[in-house]
């Protein structure tokens, strides 16, 4: 038995050795991406990886990171499936990558985070916003988006300033992200507001009539409804809410930063949501959007492409600071990064557990267009602790 194991181990080692040098050269940074290019996460991971590619191309065209390390991408599609994500992540780790990119949602990213931690390879999710991801995912897991608790604080403070008093939140226990309204509820109550009800829905739910009837029947009437529902649930919800004659302010979050939201017509008018950036004239984001249009022949229709670009800029800064492509060195360098200039925001990891400090942007839908409400910073004391499940 022992002998058999030894032989297996030797064979495995020999196989691994024969594989690694073939794919990795010292002057190359190998990044593995295990993202959902098909399936439910494709609307987020697709554009994120398009933006990521733009940064990779730019860096390589300039001679690599610091003129030294050319970037080599190995991309795998996880089909938006958690099990497939861990398979893809394991294959990438076995191929000798230095950096892993995981899907844009916390739940499948957890699957990959455990593997990355074991292999001591830094892992990044482009757009997962759950603050629990780096906490539960371990020291090697980083996020790249304003945390749900931070977004919710910004939204709640805004609602409070508008004089809104009676809130109803609609959340789904199905994923970490869709429980964002629970953070909103905490902050809103701390600010002295009332939360009249906490409704739930299932992801993929089509009919919100029961919830809408409840919201409509609240006494005193609800003046603000907060949800992190995204497509296709969100459009269905807001249409049914408006059809029932509820005129309360609706607040959403980054999941609805999508073209559909702006084509809902009357139903979405006045809707406010938090997201990661806004292309004001002359901004870096506007510049990125032009690059995107030049490369892909169409305008980007979501912030997630710029988020992908920023992720590569974070990795670049980490490698520069580490002066090496050694995974542990990159991880340690990233954890110490401060004020990295992304196109959506400045990004800081220093002093965090892996959830970056980033600007939050509030957008209002006005006549089917984007209107900047503001880019306020949250009051630090109000930001709720990550909700561990």
């Amino acid at each position: 038995m022992l002998r058999k194991l030894t032989i297996t181990a030797c064979l495995t080692a020999a196989f691994a050795l024969s594989q690694v040098p073939a794919t990795v050269s010292a002057q190359e940074l190998v990044i593995g991406t295990a993202t959902g290019q098909t399936g439910g996460l494709a609307p987020y991971d697709g554009p994120a990886m398009q933006g990521f590619q733009i940064a990779v191309d730019e860096i390589n065209a300039a001679g690599g990171i610091g003129g030294k390390y050319k970037i080599k991408l190995i991309s795998k599609d996880t089909r938006s499936d958690a099990a497939q994500t861990s398979i893809a992540a394991q294959e990438l780790i076995d191929a000798g990558i230095s950096v892993l990119v995981t899907p844009s949602d916390a739940d499948p990213s957890f699957a990959a985070a455990a593997l990355a931690t074991d292999a001591k390879i830094p892992a990044f999710s482009p757009a997962a916003s759950s603050p629990t991801l780096p906490l539960m995912g371990g020291d090697y897991m980083f996020a790249n988006f304003p945390g749900d608790n931070v977004q919710a604080t910004v939204s709640a403070e805004w609602a409070h300033k508008q004089g809104l008093k009676n809130a109803y939140i609609l959340y789904s226990p199905d994923t970490q992200y869709t429980t964002l309204p629970l953070y909103f509820s905490d902050v809103f109550k701390k600010l002295g507001g009332n939360v009249a009800g906490e409704g739930t829905y299932t992801i993929g739910q089509q009919d919100f009539s029961a919830e809408v009837t409840k919201i409509k029947s609240m006494n005193p009437p609800v003046d603000v409804v907060m949800t992190a529902a995204y497509e296709p649930d969100f459009p269905a919800f807001i249409r049914q809410l408006r059809a029932a004659g509820v005129t309360a302010q609706v607040i959403g979050s980054d999941g609805i930063d999508s073209p559909t939201t702006f084509s809902l017509g009357q139903a979405a008018e006045g809707l406010v949501f938090s997201t990661a950036g806004h292309a004001t004239p002359g901004s870096a984001l506007e510049g990125f959007n032009k690059k995107f249009a030049a490369k892909y022949g169409k305008e980007t229709d979501t912030i997630f492409s710029a988020i992908g670009y920023d992720l590569m800029k974070v990795i670049e800064a980490g490698v520069m600071a580490a002066g090496s492509t050694e995974p542990q060195a990159i991880r340690d360098a990233v954890a110490d990064l401060e004020n990295i200039k992304g196109v959506t925001s400045e990004i800081t990891y220093k002093g965090t557990t892996g959830m970056p400090v980033r600007q939050v942007t509030l957008i209002r839908v006005k006549e089917g267009e984007r209107e900047l409400v503001g880019q306020p910073s949250p009051t630090a004391d109000l930001v709720p602790a990550p909700r561990m499940q």
């Binding site: 290019q37 494709a42 993929g204 049914q240 559909t260």
Partner: protein, 297 residues
Amino acid sequence: MEIFIQQTINAISLGGTYALLALGLAIVFSIMGMINFAHGELMTITGYTLMYCGLAGFPFLVAAPVAIGVAILAAVIMERVAFRPVRNSSGATMLVTSFAVAVILQTLFQNLISTRSQAVILPDMLAQSIHFGSLSIGINQILSISITLVVLVALNWFLRRTILGMAMRAAAEDFSVTRLMGVRANGVIAGAFAISGALAGVAGVLWVAQRASVDPLMGFIPVLKAFIAAILGGLGSLTGAVAGGFALGFIEIYLAAYLPDHIQPYREALALGMVILLLLLRPNGLVPAFNVGREKV
């Protein structure tokens, strides 16, 4: 009381859509003994047709019938290309085939159209409502309930009053003997798929009218619900499918309406639990099929 009435209207509206979908599954199952999991993709096809019609500037009243027509055509093509070759195979083979068709179509939508949700332009009227006292009923709901009613009546008429309808009912009961009577197997099966396509098309229009967007995976959840409804009603029983659809609609809405907030997160589990309970009490469904257990085709 008003809230109860309002929730009941909600339940009828949702249950009606489930009923249409479950009927579409049941009509194919009753004849071929196959659950067509690609049924949801017929809805997605309807949705994309609505989207393209909207982009081309067609009014919704034109786009909707066109979209239903495309769904019928797609259903018939699906049968001809994918299901006819495995018609005499085991149930498992047909089931896997239908899954494969569903996945292939989803991938095609993702690659040829977009991975992202696409907005469907709808008349603003569909997001409005009519108020009766303090009761408000969405135009969408009124349409959904009345269209469901019309479709159910029309289908009932077709099955009772036309020779082809009779042949389909007969085939659902005993396919071999129906063939002995000279009824063409291909014709009946194609007819069943055409009807299921029409039902998916109508349900698809109602579904999209509610969500205002279409994405490649749109069909999955509705077909799952329809499957639950069809089992609940009695697999292969058409009346059962309608009963199951409405029962599921009522269970879902009333649970959402009347469960206390802190139990709401377990709603889906409770709803399925109730379905299982009903099935324990009535193992063959609410309205069992006439020929439970008989061989198909």
